[in-house]
């Protein structure tokens, strides 16, 4: 902090115009690239998308991005430890599959059961990764494959969820803010507080930076890692509940498909290094919004879906490339 202040004063004396301008170097671009890209896209959309500046547009985009944000929050934590969680999409499907089975007991119990399922799968992934020492990508890959099968076995086919509580959760809103969006915002806030204000949050970042050094420093690596995978599983289950509430139906075969990729993309585009050691909560939210807005723009401009995928691919690569410039400098 002191360094920047000193620099600022020197710059003031030398050239008054320079002090007001933030340093536009690679590091600044890495930290803020996603916000710049998001802002630029919004400005462009104002001109090229009809009726862009409307509450309906905002609402639609936020509703669509909400489940991705919830999953991406858990993914950001896992990636922060240097791991990865490929099982999130299947966990969403398991949660969705369980809801119609327990809806008879009421809204709250069915949600609770779905969340417990998320915690259990997360605990399994966490145990295999932290205690056994299997690489995160393989452990969660196995859960991805098995989880989808389990979800299909539990649920099987699309079932309509007729429940006033779920209808309210899916389509209701409070002071104009849909509940689904509110839940996503609360999750993001909670994760932000968790990373910045709690011991476990600090420890997980340390583990991502250097697992061995963290263990030697007395951080309970195994416990923290297990916790992180449990949180990721829980958040994935919540996302599955939100999607089910929005659809008013449970579709275990399709819910959450490719969500792992969307979530990873949001985290990476948001500026978190895939090697761990950093959790950028706001960046991840912005990353998810950016990808959502790109898809929305392309759809609104009648660009075919296939181009959306190609554009997304290029953006992911660009985002990571920009990050890389910082590491070498």
């Amino acid at each position: 902090m002191t360094e920047t202040v000193v620099q600022g004063q020197q710059a003031d004396r030398a050239d008054p115009a320079r002090s007001r301008r933030p340093q536009l170097d690679a590091d600044w671009l890495r930290r803020n690239g996603v916000y710049v890209a998001l802002a630029m896209l919004v400005v462009v959309d104002l001109f090229i998308v009809p009726n862009f500046a409307s509450v309906a547009t905002l609402r639609l985009n936020l509703l669509q991005v909400a489940p991705v944000v919830v999953v991406a929050m858990g993914m950001a934590l896992v990636i922060g430890t240097g791991g990865i969680d490929l099982s999130v999409g299947s966990v969403m499907a398991i949660a969705a599959a369980l809801i119609p089975l327990y809806i008879g007991y009421g809204t709250a119990p069915s949600i609770l059961v779905a969340m417990i399922a998320g915690v259990l799968t997360g605990a399994l992934a966490g145990t295999v990764v932290a205690r056994v020492g299997v690489q995160p990508i393989v452990a969660t890959l196995a859960l991805l494959v098995a989880g989808r099968g389990i979800a299909n076995l539990i649920g099987g086919r699309i079932r309509t969820v007729r429940d006033p509580g779920f209808r309210e959760l899916g389509s209701g809103s409070i002071v104009g803010v849909p509940y689904v969006v509110l839940v996503a915002a609360l999750v993001a806030l909670a994760v932000w507080l968790f990373v910045g204000r709690t011991t476990t949050g600090r420890q997980l970042v340390a583990i991502g930076g250097n697992a061995r050094a963290s263990a030697l420093a007395g951080i309970p690596v195994k416990r923290v890692l297990t916790t992180v995978y449990i949180v990721s599983g829980l958040l994935a289950a919540i996302a599955g509940i939100l999607v089910t509430a929005r659809l008013q139906a449970s579709d275990p075969t399709r819910v959450g498909q490719l969500y792992e990729l969307s979530a990873i993309t949001a985290v990476v585009v948001g500026g978190s290094p895939l090697l761990g050691g950093q959790v950028r909560v706001l960046g991840t939210v912005a990353g998810a919004l950016l990808i959502q807005l790109i898809t929305f723009t392309l759809v609104a401009r009648n660009v075919a879906d296939e181009w959306a995928q190609i554009v997304q691919a290029v953006i992911v690569l660009l985002a990571v490339y920009v990050q890389l410039g910082r590491r070498s400098s």
Partner: protein
């Protein structure tokens, strides 16, 4: 040990706690360690043999020539893809794009076959090889992580295959009289061409890994890339070749399936990259790179497909059980590998 060195970011227990656990290896311990090493490398083969034995005794329709042929045909496409994936994983990388590239290869082959057989084979191999090459270039020259680059490649190839097929609405069909159909459907000496192709490719793969300088270079890169570079090994070139080959092989699997089902289908290959990775890991290749075999992958592929076939024999189990069982076996094998590699000195 290389395995430890190659995953500095993995959730690893601290090294200092380990030496006391392994006292001086006595004769018995050395034998146990050798067994552990063998089980780690050949675990999938043991499981496969047991499964084959049990299934032959239990189901009359299992150990028949027709069923055996069906398993081999079902395994052949994944086998071709997993061969490329094996070399990528041996270098310590990963290729998530193979499923999409496989689908793209199939569509391009079916499209090409409407011109002639040569186009049907060359066009997909060229395009898929180019995708692999570009991925390799971004990974080596750009220094980006294989996971992210090939994830982008997955999206890109999927988008491209939708573009070629007009968003999936156009299905190209191989003309009825086309010689291209013979590539997969024909047979030599009573054995399907498909199976010959897989046998030849795996023979070449084994020779490359064991008998050429390329193989040890791949293993050295996977073991420790910095050391390989300092030794003056052609790291960049080897990686480029490996990713290009993975693209070509995935594309070739697409060519084979297009020839087999006589059309190009966009929905193919979703999740195939995961099957391929699972087969490689089941085959005893370490995901951190540096150690593994080509034939192990073939065993892994066969294991996955035999499981699928056995579950199909049980009437009250539907296809969802395949996913559950495959996932569970993958998890069990990697957990066992982990414990067995700890048992070794």
């Amino acid at each position: 040990m290389t395995q430890q060195a190659a995953q500095p970011h993995g959730p690893e227990t601290p090294e200092p706690s380990r030496p006391p656990e392994t006292p001086q290896p006595s004769a018995g311990r050395a034998g146990a360690a050798r067994f552990a090493g063998l089980a780690q490398r050949q675990g999938a083969l043991v499981v496969l043999l047991v499964l084959l034995l049990v299934a032959s005794l239990r189901f009359d329709s299992f150990a028949t020539l027709d069923n055996g042929r069906a398993v081999l045909v079902a395994a052949s496409f994944l086998a071709v893809i997993a061969l490329g994936q094996t070399f990528v994983i041996l270098t310590g990388g990963i290729d998530l794009s193979v499923g999409s590239v496989f689908a793209l290869g199939g569509i391009l082959a079916a499209y090409g076959s409407t011109y002639n057989t040569l186009v049907a084979i060359v066009l997909p191999l060229a395009v898929c090889g180019l995708i692999g090459l570009v991925q390799g270039l971004i990974i080596t020259r750009g220094g980006l992580e294989p996971f992210i680059v090939t994830l982008a490649g997955l999206l890109f190839a999927r988008g491209l295959s939708l573009l070629v097929s007009d968003g999936g609405s156009t299905t190209y069909r191989v003309p009825v009289d086309s010689a291209f159909r013979q590539l997969s459907q024909g047979s030599i000496l009573g054995v399907k061409n498909l199976i010959w192709i897989v046998v030849i490719l795996y023979a070449i793969g084994t020779l490359l890994l064991r008998r050429t300088s390329y193989g040890p270079t791949v293993l050295a890169i996977g073991g420790q890339q910095d050391a390989a570079e300092l030794m003056g090994l052609p790291v960049t070139r080897t990686k480029l070749v490996t990713y290009t080959a993975s693209g070509v092989l995935a594309g070739f699997a697409g060519v084979l399936i297009a020839s087999y089902i006589s059309s190009g289908v966009t929905v193919l290959g979703v999740g195939t990259e995961l099957d391929a990775i699972a087969a490689v890991v089941l085959g005893g290749t370490l995901l951190t790179g540096g150690a593994g075999t080509v034939l192990g992958t073939l065993v892994g592929v066969l294991l996955l497909r035999v499981i699928q076939n056995v579950l199909n024999q049980i009437p009250y189990l539907n296809s969802n059980w395949q996913a559950v069982v495959s996932g569970s076996i993958l998890l069990a094998v990697v957990v066992a590998q982990r414990y067995l590699s700890r048992a070794q000195p």
